[in-house]
Amino acid sequence: MKILMLTWEYPPFIIGGLGMACYGLFKALSELGLIIYMILPTKEKVFFEIDSPFSADYPAAKTWDKKQLTPLPLKFYHFHYLEPEGGYLTIKEGLVRENISYPKREPQFLPTPQEVLKRIDFILSQENSLLAKVRLYTQNVLEITKNLDFNLIHAHDWLTYPAGLFLKNIKRVPLVTHIHATEFDRALGYGHPLIHEIEYLGLNYAEKVIAVSNYTAEIIKEHYFIPEEKITVIHNAFTAFTEKPFKVKKFKEPVVLFLGRLTPQKGPKIFLEIAKKVLEREGRVRFLIAGTGEMERELMLEAASLGIGTHILFTGFLTRKEVEAALSMSDIVVMPSVSEPFGIVALEAMYFGCALIVSKQSGVSEVIESAYKVDFWDVDKMVEIIIDLLQNPDKIEKLQAESKEEVKKFSWKERAERVLQIYQEFLS
């Protein structure tokens, strides 16, 4: 079975969790005997072939005629998020204006209607640098796949949906769209109307939708009117390169870690609020803010203005290796995301034996037991938990041991088997 994977991220080119999720899933699928062609937003017209765990680690770049490229550094488009523009236009309004009818709900292969393709073409020709990149990617995909045969298209997140919708018509193969994050999560509010529209169309005109959590499934049911029977929830697993996780005592004081992009979605400001309140009561703690993002300066200025010297530290951009180093030196990890489709970081934290506090507004909270689950806005509660853990070494050790044990049940292999089942429904 040959699958065409369309994704915007793959290690080492990682911006968020998407890259690591794709890596884990593709590697496990290749172990099940699948052949994966992957197309990334490269400037070169190439695809990557993954047919073994080894090639998942080191995917080989090939040109459209399947000639392997000699190793050369691939240039990726610079990625950034779109700012919400103007007023919020509901999807319905947008569609009504363009006379696009709602799709029929049928289980098997259905070509994308011409008016939908016309609409997408119109969206991608807007003057917007990100949409222009998506357009370029879409054209790239169509060109590269000319001589390529595959049984199914699996597209990850909205940036690749236009390519999937066009390609399924040309190749007459089913499209599975995977939703790792919605525009509602990223924008924490209305978001960009055109991105909403692409998400809406991509999810509705795919044969099948995979959501990374019930939390995300609810969002797309409610806002994008995706019928329940079309959605399968497959939670993420995680990958760690450190085989035997260990703890390093870097500081004399306990360490509380935030790990993620510094964007409103991940709640770094909430973390800072927590840090401030904990430090007022318990001076001997270090708070570590790991990651970069558009809020870095704002957070730094605020942290510095608290005048607590070296108790709030910033790491800047971290490589994968450094991410694991950060986890192994932390005692408590807080994930105060405001809206988190999944949150692989939580599983990684458990793997490294960190006590974990996650927001209830996250997909991962559906599948883990040994963690505190708190509403993201409940700063005082999180402060209480942290102080309680710091004052009770037994309690924190117990929690750390439990989470380390629990996380063992998560594997990409099991996830990949369920994805394979979905493929087989179409291809049998």
């Binding site: 570590l288 300066r297 730094m300 607590i308 010297g309 790491t315 800047g316 450094e322």
Partner: protein, 400 residues
Amino acid sequence: MLYIIFYFQVHQPYRIRDFSVFEVGGSNNYFDEQLNRYIINKVAEKCYLPINSLFKELIESSEGRFKVSYSITGTFLEQVKNYRPEVLESFLELAKTGAVEFINETYYHSLASIFDIEEFLEQVEEHFEFIKNEFGFLPTTFRNTELIYFDKLSDFLLNFPHLKTILIEGADHILKGDLPLYPRLSYNHAHLLLLKHYKLSDDIAFRFSNRGWEDYPLTAEKYVQWIKNLRLVEREGKNLYLNLFMDYETFGEHQWKETGIFDFIRKVIELILEEEDLAFLWPSEVRQTLNYTPKVLFVPNPTSWADTERDLSAWLSNPLQWNAMKTCFDFLKRAKQKGKWDLVSPLKRLTTSDHFYYMCIKYFQDGDVHKYFSPYPSPEHAYRYYINILTDIEEKLEEG
């Protein structure tokens, strides 16, 4: 008579390394030796060596009528000794001509005068001893880091009775319409204040090669004519003092050799030497030549020579800078109390004002001079590395 007083600031900081949080608890190798070595060597070739030899030649050919004064920081001379000893040699050569005055300042080019008076006095003393030992010179003139001055500073300096003169910025907001050509007295009448003529100083230091400037290109004839015109304001025969204060790196570093800066300054000096009622002077000689009683100058708030604001905002305008500097001086105090001398030394190097200059976000968006001088990609990087280093020091402070 119109006297011309040249004072040049000679300074290089110990730039810090990209010290990551994962290195905490490791070695205390905080400074970027490679980068510092590279910069010292680069600036030595472009600036220090050629300009020193030019000045030496002019001193000798004018038989000492051309005079200059220097303020040389400890962090500069330490690095020069390590990375390019011939620069020290060339300063010693200059000193031997007898036409050079050395000025006293804080050894580490720090803002200790704002944060920690004890440390300030210590650093001034350290620098005094250092100049005495290196150059055999006993300074009687003082300049504070970046020409920072406020009334209280004059009080602090009463601890050093040999210091008689202080160099300060001739900022409009303290002169209130008076001219910087007349020396002033500190509010407590203890020190003579020499005020930088920022217009004519910055014409050389900043505007010389600016093609957008209306007076571009600046010729030596034009410049000397401006100087001569200054005499027109004085009708009672009072001596005037034109204080031209600037970074030494102006010659060859900030203004490249290709701009003609070396030929320009040579010509300016030669033309001045030809004039009968123009003469070069040391800051310390102003007292002897003064033929009137100077007026008192009140400076309640700190002024400096930096940026258009001429205040402390280049180093202390945002929380990053405040937190970093406050924490550094706190730790320094703790390290001294605990007798951890191995930590005192790096902490003192961390008091250098440049570290905080790199954290300035005042103009960073416009990519102006702060960016030009910063070795880091952004103020956030500068802050992060600095705080990580302080964290490492804090961990070591708590040991034992």
